[in-house]
Symmetry: C2
Subunit: 471 residues, 2 copies
């Protein structure tokens, strides 16, 4: 429960309508896109300006009340579950595109802007903003920044981090900082911009972002290649890169995914294939034609069983359906779907897919794998039932072993979803105890009283993937 | 003077030959590429392995002795001048390419490797590592990482930061951390990799780096465009970008630079031009042809007085001579050359060039400007004489006003040279007092006893651009 004086203060900052502590608002902001996690906040606040955010932070700091800033809460790491109560700050009212600067190819936006709306706006101007997380129809730019969201175009175009060049942010004590700018080069001090991207709301509250835009590719081509041998698919991925072609998209689906997708979408996919690659290249028409022709040769050389190259946009859309249906198809199998993002060097994806398979069998759980083969970012996806405690426990054990396997292959516990609550107990596996200590020091430098999204990134006794009950 | 016990310990770690405290070694490591700065270290150490670096740091930490790690010391911000004495750690013995991974398109190298040797090795393998600081024939990869070096290809390809994806580094207490990896995506905790790049040796000592490589462009084309009107040149820069062409290189030389270069190289440049643009595009042959044709049209539209497009590699080399001679030509005018790197949004370069001119006239000093127009990173270069205290003072005043002007135009005090000693008194102008406080907090988190390159980045009473005498 929030102190009555604080509640009055918060209401006076944003107006009565934009602070809520009724049960409905609290329950609605007690969970996010991550299954099986819930914790009630004490209040929910909806600021409209940076100045309001600053005043809110000053008030919360004075009362030592924690705050979880969030957009749509579509993250998959429990990043916005308010495990220590306090206030959830929803950024949706700060959703304006403040400027698109055509001379400098930058856009300055507020954090609550929906990613897909931003992309639509930018594309209508004939420009391109590449980060495309699957959640983009609902996710916000601020959420993308908090999690450093990736997407299907990461291999060629990078992730959110590569496009954020300036930030305005409010610190835990209410002070406002500005980092970077409309600058392609800036080495004035430590790079706070890149540090804040991916910091999961634990260091500061982003209130404005300047994003780099790029010229859009003139054309695009899409193809599918299907393999009876998983290693043939994996070798194709490596060989494309070795041939110095960086495709715009290079996705893989394993056999369990193929079968589920075929059941769901009735695409007539060959159900005996070990893997399907979805490959797209974009750029100038000549380059695209040549690259796709060379990729086709590589697929043939690696004994792809079937290759389909789309000759029209409609056909391309059809080929994309299989990959796009993967999550939906898996999600309808069982009540609970857990999508992970263990990532390995791209040369190790076949090893990783096979290890995932082995581990799933060992624990008697059902895990299908698809994901971004080109950048080694796989999505092993377990279908289970939250009500079956025993099975959920086995799924957790399987994922622990999957994270271990990823690290053993030179990979990481999370490629694009973030640490949040879910990966916190595993962070040390990747960064080591000295790494954790350094990160905790950075956290203390920004937020000495641990008010910004406390309980995330650094594990204490957080139980994972279980419903957390608060009074 | 170092404690005798510590000296014995350091000698036992690296061997007698690789620790020196004679006057010759100390003087040789008392300065760097920055004019008018000098301070004697107490000793110089040359480690060969990460383990040695770790043991050295443990020993220095126990004795509270500062350390400045360096490569070739070609930086221009006083970044490696040991202003608080202690030990200079020279990384030149750790200069191996540990691996080039063709499947993952990564290279893992030691920090003492010369940038140009690395690039030559990579290009011989048919690959591409874009960061190309002008110092690359002598600078090291470790130095590039410390300063986040840029270069002529920054506009299209980014800077050092964009290519460092994993690091091994030794902390102030001797502990070894590993960040990132051969991973295109990794969001496990705060991004220590990008934080260490550009941290100027103040947070940790980098002992190994994993670098991202990219496919090389198939072809390249070079052109010059000369303008009587500076704004015509500047509008050309903006219009090229607005036309969604990102050239590989887009450089500008102002009138003072043109005249000096012409005196020096006898290229027959038209001495009445306000500006010359050097433009290069690379990529697939068709794309390059089309882009260069469009750029030519834009130059004509903006009333370029003369346009030369190189039809052969030899001709291209000739066109490149003017820009490449700029620094050398300026440096021979007077005994002391001070090269700065104020940076503005690229739409503001004409305003900035004119402001620089105005300021130089105001203080009665000689400043010529050239630089990376495409990314707004200008190099106003003063030619002066260190022995003329009055003139040097006026040059300093002029640069102070230039930094102020850059910030007023939405720019920064340093685009690619770093803060070091020289920009430390101005850092707050860019990042604000709250920004400085956060950065100091990060520094304390890594290095609580302030042993790593102390006196850099954060100003105390550091006098700038004067010879510092130590006992």
């Amino acid at each position: 429960m929030l102190d009555a004086a604080l509640t009055r203060q918060l209401r006076s900052i944003v107006g009565d309508k934009h602070f809520r502590d009724d049960q409905e608002a609290r329950v609605a902001h007690s969970y996010d896109g991550t299954p099986m996690l819930q914790a009630l906040p004490d209040g929910v606040i909806y600021p409209e300006t940076t100045e309001q955010v600053s005043r809110i932070m000053t008030a919360l700091a004075a009362h030592r009340v924690p705050v979880v800033s969030r957009g749509s809460g579509s993250n998959l790491c429990g990043g916005t579950v308010p495990v220590q109560g306090g206030v959830v700050m929803v950024m949706h009212r700060m959703n304006r595109i403040l400027e698109v600067d055509l001379e400098n190819l930058t856009a300055t936006v507020q954090p609550g802007l929906i990613t897909a709306s931003f992309i639509a706006h930018i594309e209508a101007l004939g420009l391109f903003y590449p980060p495309d997380p699957s959640s983009m129809k609902i996710s916000t730019i601020g959420g993308n920044i908090a999690e450093c969201s990736g997407g299907l175009r990461g291999l060629k175009y990078g992730t959110t981090k590569d496009y954020v060049i300036g930030l305005e942010a409010v610190l835990a004590n209410g002070e406002i900082i500005r980092t970077g700018g409309k600058l392609m080069k800036d080495v004035a001090g430590y790079d706070l911009t890149k540090l804040l991207v991916g910091s999961e709301g634990t260091l500061a509250i982003v209130t404005e972002a300047t994003l780099k835009l790029v010229p859009p590719p003139a054309s695009k081509k899409t193809m599918l290649a299907m393999y009876k041998d998983l290693y043939g698919a994996a070798r194709t991925v490596s060989r494309i890169i070795e041939n110095k072609i960086i495709p715009a998209t290079l996705e893989i689906m394993d056999n369990p995914t193929i079968r589920v997708v075929d059941d769901f979408a009735g695409l007539g996919l060959p159900r005996d294939m070990a893997a399907i690659l979805l490959i797209e290249q974009d750029g100038d028409a000549e380059t695209v034609e040549r690259d796709i022709a060379r990729i086709r040769e590589i697929c043939e050389f690696e004994r792809a069983d079937r290759i389909e190259v789309a000759e029209s946009r409609e056909q391309a859309e059809k080929l994309l359906t299989a990959r796009r249906s993967a999550f939906t198809a898996l999600a309808r199998l069982r009540p609970t779907t857990i999508l992970e993002d263990a990532t390995v060097p791209r040369s190790r994806i076949a090893d990783m897919v096979l290890r995932i398979d082995e581990i799933a069998r060992k624990y008697g759980v059902s895990i299908a794998t698809f994901g971004h083969a080109g950048d080694g970012n796989l999505h092993p996806t377990a279908t289970t039932d939250a009500r079956d405690a025993d099975e959920v426990h086995r799924v957790e054990q399987a994922f622990e072993e999957i994270f271990e396997a990823a690290i053993a292959l030179g990979g990481t516990i999370t490629g694009e979803h973030g640490v949040g609550l879910v990966k916190a107990p595993f962070l040390e596996w990747k960064v080591g105890s000295a790494g954790i200590e350094v990160m905790r020091g950075i956290k203390r430098a920004f937020d000495p009283d641990n008010l910004l999204n406390p309980g995330k990134m650094f594990a204490k006794e957080t139980r994972k993937r279980v419903v957390i009950e608060r009074g």
